[in-house]
Symmetry: C2
Subunit: 408 residues, 2 copies
């Protein structure tokens, strides 16, 4: 099949999927979860081959992301089953208005259509994204990293195999080459949303080469602001967790802002260094790479200066204030214009699973459509449904009928 | 000011606006409404000059759209005042989840930032869009049609004058040249959403020339499907209203689909012709321009064929089924994938004011972010706000703490 044929087939199969009864769609997800477990040895064998090919080619960090094991497969299956237990996301009524006597309007959730998701080396993204697409009634085309090609192919086979005979395997397409991705990016008449999960450069490249809307999942430049009124133990614990729990994550702290009146900045910095963090200050701070076990530290005069710094240098992902002052906390949460704003909690909580969304397709730093961790809801659109009994607008224009606009 | 300086100033003034107390923002809107009425003679004088310049240059239809009068200004002012009475849209809590004991998450509505709205000859769009931006706490840059340049300049002066001294006039910028628009379309670091209101060609041109998300407001190719089980009087009334109430509107009927078993198709067509509609059938149907007092008619074998026709030839705007059969109606409303799907009601109801949204910035045929008539809600994004007491993720990974994920 050509990329266009794949996308058109995904759209058609997606229509079958969304027209299934809600229970049936939920049971498909349970079947996918069971199939992953039943085929675990096949999946792990393919993964072993990918890992062997990667030896000496990929860095240790990338190899670690590539590897699957039985526990990971079981936890993926669990996640998919818990997604099946969530309330039905399609057809949810968001708004009900009586426009006039006998004329009733509803705004309801609907699938987007066809999604194109491009992800890098981590193969566990494939079952997560596939199950979110199934839950939300969307067709899907996936492009994974080439290091994980065998694992991805096996996962794809197992998942689409579990959908038969209710939904055609075409509902989830898998492509493997950049040329196919280029072709797909031209299909703005068939594909409704592109979700690139990867480097800023990759996201930028895609934005510049498609008319399809792009849900930007870019690196985060997350800040922790330690206020003058911060509890020192809390500041230490949050800064260390935000930086060291997973330094390469997009929700890891990159910059620590310290209020000029904070009592013991040196103690805080020393604690980070004791935890293995390389701390960069002043002009030197420009030199380090985000995602390392390193961060920059900046002293700021006050809350306003901290917020200005975040707006100037941040990426609008996740920012935290550590303070015991309720007023400063409220002001920070109100005024900082990032997808996630936290008070006395580690930036690492910015995650679909931790937020209770079941799973995530990525963390969006876009401001439109979906922002922050994106679960099923970010893969839906809405439709307006109006039921009348022969109503026309002419009598309203003529003043013979009046709108009531009653919210139900 | 350069276009970049204008956009940056609109962003800064937008921040002032959204940090005002809710009551204050509502009172600003009331001031804008009163200022329009108090300056009506000035506005109408500018409009008269624009109309004089347009004589012999613009078509009668365009001239009609360009003209303002006292009643229009009063109705604009009324609309703005009713917008001021709507519940506060900023900071609305959409979701509340207890992630774990003492760790509370909220998803709240927030302004998008800066909007760029490009509209054509109708100057009444300016106060409507300006008031929606003010209500939603956004900065705004407007580009109007050059035929309405004097009217737009006067409206802009009156509106921004009414905001002083609480918000800088920069919160709403006005540009007049295409070159300025080109410059603005490059500012994806400052402008968050572009809303073009105009021809398909204009919307397409903008989509191809910016990385800023575009809220597509394109022509509608709306269908009315008269089912076998349609009441003939109702079918006639709806088809005539949908076509003749305002033929140039994007929610006017362009294609009438008639079920092959409908009793009296000739009577229906004759009624449309009696109402002055030119009816095109078969191959000839390709030749006419959408927006005229004309429509194409197509016989379809059944409901499935009607839905296929709509998906193949429609623009995803608004479609209506006329039927007394509840099952057919439900199937049509479920399966037709357009922004608005209506049962026994004219397509002309697809409108922000008629939907009870207060006003509209346009009707979106995009599938992401906002779909259908776009009011204040389409000009908002969301933020996630998390409040803890020193919480870190490490104890959750170590199994010492557990997520509760209780929805509140």
């Amino acid at each position: 099949m050509t990329p266009r044929e794949q996308a058109v087939a995904a759209r058609a199969a997606g229509q079958t999927l969304r027209n299934l009864p809600s229970r049936k769609r939920a049971s498909l997800l349970r079947r996918v979860g069971s199939a992953l477990e039943a085929n675990a040895s096949r999946i792990l064998a393919a993964n072993q081959q990918d890992l062997r090919d990667a030896e000496g080619v990929l860095s240790d960090a990338l190899t670690a992301r590539l590897g699957l094991n039985l526990a990971k497969i079981e936890s993926l299956a669990d996640g998919i089953r818990s997604l099946s237990e969530m309330p039905e996301p399609i057809g949810r009524v968001l708004r009900q208005t009586q426009l006039a006597d006998g004329l009733d309007l509803e705004q309801i959730t609907s699938p987007l259509g066809v999604l194109l998701v491009i992800f890098e080396s981590r193969p566990d993204a494939l079952p997560q994204v596939a199950s979110l697409a199934l839950r939300s009634g969307n067709g899907l085309i996936l492009k994974g990293g080439k290091e994980a090609a065998r694992t991805n192919r096996t996962l794809h086979e197992v998942i689409t195999g579990a959908l038969r005979p209710d939904v055609a395997a075409d509902v989830i397409g898998l492509v493997e080459t950049r040329e196919e991705v280029s072709d797909l990016l031209a299909l703005d008449d068939v594909i409704d949303l592109v979700i690139p999960r990867g480097s800023n450069a990759m996201v930028r490249h895609i934005q510049e080469n498609t008319r399809i809307p792009v849900l930007g999942h870019a690196d985060g430049i997350c800040h922790v602001f330690v206020d003058a009124a911060a509890d020192p133990d809390m500041a230490r614990a949050i800064a260390i967790d935000a930086k060291t729990d997973y330094p390469a994550a997009c929700n890891a702290m990159e910059t620590l802002l310290i209020h000029a009146d904070y009592a013991n900045p040196q103690g805080l910095i020393a604690a980070l260094e004791d935890a293995g963090v390389k701390v960069h200050r002043g002009p030197e701070a420009r030199g380090f790479e985000y995602g390392e076990l390193a961060c920059s530290v900046q002293t700021v005069a006050d809350l306003d200066a901290a917020i200005d710094h975040i707006h100037q240098f941040g990426s609008g992902h996740t920012e935290c204030i550590v303070t015991s002052d309720a007023e400063s906390a409220a002001s920070f949460l109100d005024r900082v214009d990032s997808a996630c704003v936290f008070h006395n909690a580690s930036t690492r909580f910015a995650d679909g699973y931790r937020f209770g969304l079941g799973a995530e397709v990525g963390i969006s730093t876009s401001r439109i459509h979906a922002r922050g961790p994106v679960g099923v809801e970010g893969l839906l659109t809405t439709r307006w449904r109006l039921s009348g009994s022969g109503d026309t607008v002419a009598p309203f224009s003529a003043g013979e009928r009046e709108f009531t606009h009653k919210t139900k």
